[in-house]
């Protein structure tokens, strides 16, 4: 009995921590959704692009770890800058659907550029954090939890706190929330949309880089990261597209639920249900709570 409970705890904690990896990816989507009301299909490509650049800097040019990370982050700011200038600004008055299509195209461009510059082979990313159970926790709590998972959990927590403070207490955060509510009204009182867009895309790029590092360290830096990022879709449906806490909680729920289902119900389906179980959960949410757990309800005065 005790063993069963311990096993369940292990599955749950492992799932929750793995979920923070989804949360990290989902964060990037939320940032952009807040500002341009668009699902950014290129977020997966941004994850791939940024972490491949990071690996490229380290492995091809022998740039030290920290400097390479900073360079990759700067590169993502440049990507944000170019996106604002060459994609978003010309489409300023186009519909949200048009911008959505443009992000798909942007995704292909980024994927192509990344592979042209740094090659197509799978790269190993060593963060110096092992993806194996921490011995101390295994000995004392009898739980097998990976060090990488714990790191991802910490990083996600720090990022959410940072972003929360940025949005709630800074001037540019106020501008961003204003643009998210009504871009037209925001520009009528002199909030420059292009600065806000630039900030949001750069922030999303850096978030993508962090998420990419975590995933890259686990699964290798490879093209599959692009599709993996789409796992963020059910996370967002559950958490709410416009909510940062929602992205985190949604990730945790997806992580925990998919692991628990996989372990306890998986065998009846012949296993491997963690690939599609989150999407089933997402469908239930779409049916019964379409704004997600934390999404902003559409407020309408009657």
């Amino acid at each position: 009995m005790v063993n069963e409970l311990l096993f369940f705890m292990e599955v749950l904690v492992g799932g929750l921590l793995a979920g923070t990896m989804y949360s990290l990816v989902a964060l990037g989507f939320v940032l952009i959704f807040k500002a341009s009301a668009t699902f950014n299909f290129s977020q997966g490509a941004m994850v791939f692009f940024s972490v491949l650049a990071f690996c490229g800097f380290m492995q091809d040019f022998n740039i030290p770890f920290v400097l390479a990370f900073i360079l990759a982050a700067l590169l993502m700011v440049v990507v944000g800058l170019c996106t604002e200038r060459f994609v978003l600004r010309p489409l300023m008055n186009a519909s949200e659907d048009t911008v959505l299509m443009a992000t798909i195209g942007l995704g292909y461009v980024l994927e192509g550029l990344a592979q042209a510059a740094w090659g197509v082979e799978v790269r190993r990313l060593d963060l110096g954090i092992g993806d194996f159970p921490v011995p101390w926790i295994a000995d004392n709590l009898k739980l097998f939890i990976s060090a990488l998972d714990i790191t991802a959990g910490l990083v996600a927590t720090i990022m959410i706190i940072g972003l929360f403070l940025l949005f709630k207490y800074t001037k540019i955060g106020l501008g961003l929330r204003a643009v998210a509510d009504d871009a037209g009204a925001a520009s009528s009182i002199g909030i420059p949309l292009k600065h806000i867009m630039l900030l949001v895309w750069s922030a999303a790029g850096v978030v993508a880089l962090v998420a990419g590092c975590m995933w890259g360290a686990r699964a290798g830096v490879q093209f599959a990261l692009v599709d993996l990022a789409l796992k963020a879709l059910p996370v967002l449906i559950i958490g709410g597209f416009s909510s940062i806490p929602g992205a985190i909680i949604g990730g945790l729920i997806i992580g925990a639920v998919e692991k628990i289902l996989e372990v306890y119900i998986g065998p009846f389906f012949g296993g491997a249900i963690e690939g599609w179980a989150p999407y089933v959960l997402a469908i239930f949410f779409l049916l019964y709570r379409p704004e997600g757990l934390f999404g902003e309800k559409i407020i309408r005065r009657v």
């Binding site: 037209g184 009528s188 009182i189 909030i191 420059p192």
Partner: protein, 272 residues
């Protein structure tokens, strides 16, 4: 960049097209003297909003373009500027339909108006207190989410937000739309105060002809994208045509709905 001429805004014969095909304004000229309130009157679709947006350069975001004529604002020719540059020059538009940031609190909404200015936290609070002296009602509701405030309060938020940018000129697009008469009076009282105490020049688009003219110095009446009539507010209020068409007053005295119904039933009886 200020000039010594008496007019803060001088629009000369502008023509505006949407999508390069839809002609919204044919020929509009108007002047706003410094420190005055000018009313722009007309029915739906007459071109009031278009005129205001041409001035504030918000037209571009709706694929509209000034194709002829010129707009001179405070010595600057308005041509390729964008809305945030216009705010920098001291011109702020309060858009039709209030357009508050629904998820922000009332106070955050108002503070967002100061975005274009470089102010310290203390300066902002000082400005905020000053704004609240005009909009007492908003101070009580400062912590509520803007979307949950009443229509009148939302209109006040929109005007207060614009005032935080410290404008020399305000463009108000139908500030009393859908408001109860008492609130209409309250809004106009505030607008008048802002004009007199802060010295803001105001160009005001309204359908509510009577109230608008009573609170303005000068008026323009536009129909289908053309200025049909203009004059001092007093002369327009006394103009027979204006009375008949816009104020619902005919020479025989005020006609109301009941009179119209009575007339109709009388004519019906005659026919029977």
């Amino acid at each position: 960049m200020s000039n010594n001429s008496a007019n803060i805004l001088d629009i000369k014969n502008i023509e505006v097209m949407y999508d390069s095909v839809i002609l919204a304004l044919h020929d509009v000229s108007l002047k706003v003297p410094k420190g005055k309130v000018v009313a722009l009157l007309g029915a739906n679709g007459a071109g009031k909003s278009t005129t205001l947006k041409a001035v504030s350069t918000m037209l571009a975001s709706e694929r509209g373009k000034v194709t002829k004529g010129s707009i001179d604002y405070d010595g600057t020719l308005i041509d390729k500027q964008n809305p945030s540059q216009m705010v920098g020059l001291g011109m702020v538009q309060v858009l039709e339909g209030r357009r508050c940031f629904g998820h922000l609190t009332v106070e955050e909404n108002i503070i967002s108006g100061a975005y274009s200015r470089k102010l310290s936290k203390g300066d902002i609070n000082q400005e905020l207190e000053k704004i609240y002296t005009y909009f007492i009602r908003l101070k009580e509701r400062r912590k509520s989410q803007a979307a949950f405030t009443s229509g009148g309060e939302q209109q006040m938020i929109a005007v207060a937000r614009a005032m935080m940018a410290k404008p020399k000129m305000l463009l108000l697009d139908e500030p009393t739309m859908g408001l109860a008469p008492q609130l209409v009076a309250e809004i106009f009282k505030i607008v008048k105060e802002l004009n007199q105490k802060e010295g803001v020049s105001i160009l005001l688009a309204e359908q509510n002809t009577n109230v608008a003219l009573k609170n303005s110095d000068y008026g323009y009446i536009i129909e289908t994208g053309r200025v049909m009539l203009d004059g001092t507010a007093q002369s327009l209020l006394n103009n027979d045509q204006v009375k008949e068409l816009y104020l619902g007053i005919s020479k025989k005295g005020r006609k109301n709905f009941r009179d119209v119904l009575k007339e109709e039933s009388l004519t019906k009886k005659k026919i029977n």
